[in-house]
Amino acid sequence: MRWPTSDKLRSLVQLPDGYKFERLERAHVAPLIAAIRVWHPDITVGVNSGYLREEYYLNRVYFEGESERDILVVPISFKGELIGIWSFEREIDSLAIYGRTIIVAPAHRGANLALFVLKGTENLGRAMGAAFMYAMATLKIPHVQRALENAGYRLLGFFPGYDREEVAPGVVKRVYQAVYAKLLVPSDEVLRPDPRNMTPTSKALFDLLFSD
């Protein structure tokens, strides 16, 4: 599963007029961190707080033309101005893509970039040979859940407290998040479990979620 070039990414994922994916360069990192801090101040705690640390990019994120790494960060611009980032992670052994985050400047939230990006992730995943895509959705607002459901993602369950958020100024709590996924392979390539190998709890929840 190799990352596409930024040119290839632009052909796989359509954005609204005026918006463009940029190639992440090392020189972008400091201004990007400063911008994310303004766009999404809640991110200072929790699993995505790494996007505010320079060493996170230098140690974990792929820069085009350098050695492959598992996390990709794609800056998004509008008429030349940086207005957001999209980031995902590949899991090569599972052939999976994890949609980690999309952060957009408040002034551009009406452009529905998340919807375009969700559709595009599927094209990207297929081009990379992924078979499974997943993402976590905040329960602070319903928009991401709706966008994932409209894009054909299936709700698989909830993580009760996997991540932390600043729920009010200075108050950090663990939060529930919804887990959504989409399969990119035909359903006959997935083995359904034998109910005899499931506990009663497991079977009851499985029947509720996958009775179709």
């Binding site: 599972s94 009760p160 407290g161 663990r174 996924a181 359904r192 479990p193 499931m198 497991s202």
Partner: protein, 230 residues
């Protein structure tokens, strides 16, 4: 109380503390993986659990995975840990955890016990150990995926008080018959290590109808009172 958390960094516990937290049956002991153990461990895992050759766990059959990603005894801290069950000089099994310091969480990645040592019930020690070590490290949330090929891991997690919160529908791959690889479902189990009041409950108005229905099944007492606008 043992503490391996300084408020900023989660540190793996010392091997001596493990036997205090969850003593093993007589004759068995814990060890952290050493660099010199890696080739023999890879061979042992391939023999104990040949199905692991495809899918998310296949990295445990590659020596470079350990060199690049795993904390090795006496070396620099890394986010993935491999523990060994040993009896004399023999490997009796292994388990692996991954810490996510930004989320203060611990992920139970894998447990494999050698077939000839399965009657010692070594795997059942790892669930309470994860909770004790996790708390000492400052972890607030534990999670693990359980195979649905056999019920043992589901039973063990449920008995240890972990909650089933959903399933992955094809996240991983397994060799389900010789030469036949399929994607598989796995159970997702979690355990929250903080008091209820440290968990922010969602406003049901912020969930989609589908989300709200499932949330009420999984957490019947956890939905917050809907917020009203005045």
């Amino acid at each position: 109380m043992l503490v391996f958390y300084d408020g900023k960094k989660m540190k793996w516990p010392g091997i001596d503390q493990l036997s205090v937290m969850a003593p093993l049956p007589e004759g068995y002991r814990y060890e952290w993986l050493k660099r010199s153990d890696i080739p023999a461990l890879v061979k042992a895992i391939a023999r104990w659990h040949p199905d692991i050759a495809v899918g998310g766990g296949s990295c445990y059959l590659r020596e470079d995975f350990y060199f690049e990603n795993v904390f090795l005894e006496g070396e620099q801290e890394k986010n993935i840990l491999v523990g060994l069950f040993k009896r004399g000089d023999e490997f009796a099994g292994m388990w692996s955890w991954e810490q996510e310091p930004d989320a203060l969480s611990l992920y139970g990645r894998l447990i494999i016990v050698a077939p000839e040592h399965r009657s010692a019930k070594l795997a059942s020690k790892v669930m309470p150990l994860a909770e004790l070590a996790g708390r000492a490290m400052g972890a607030e949330f534990l999670f693990a995926l359980a195979t649905l090929k056999i019920p043992h891991m589901q039973h063990a997690l449920e008995t240890a008080g972990w909650q089933l919160i959903g399933f992955t529908s094809g996240y991983d791959r397994e060799e389900v018959a010789p030469g036949l690889v399929k994607r598989v479902f796995e159970g997702v189990y979690t355990k929250v290590l903080v008091p209820e009041e440290e968990l922010a409950r969602p406003d049901p108005n912020n969930l989609t109808p589908r989300g709200r229905a499932l949330f009420e099944v999984l957490f019947p007492h956890s939905a917050a009172v809907p917020q009203t606008t005045h």
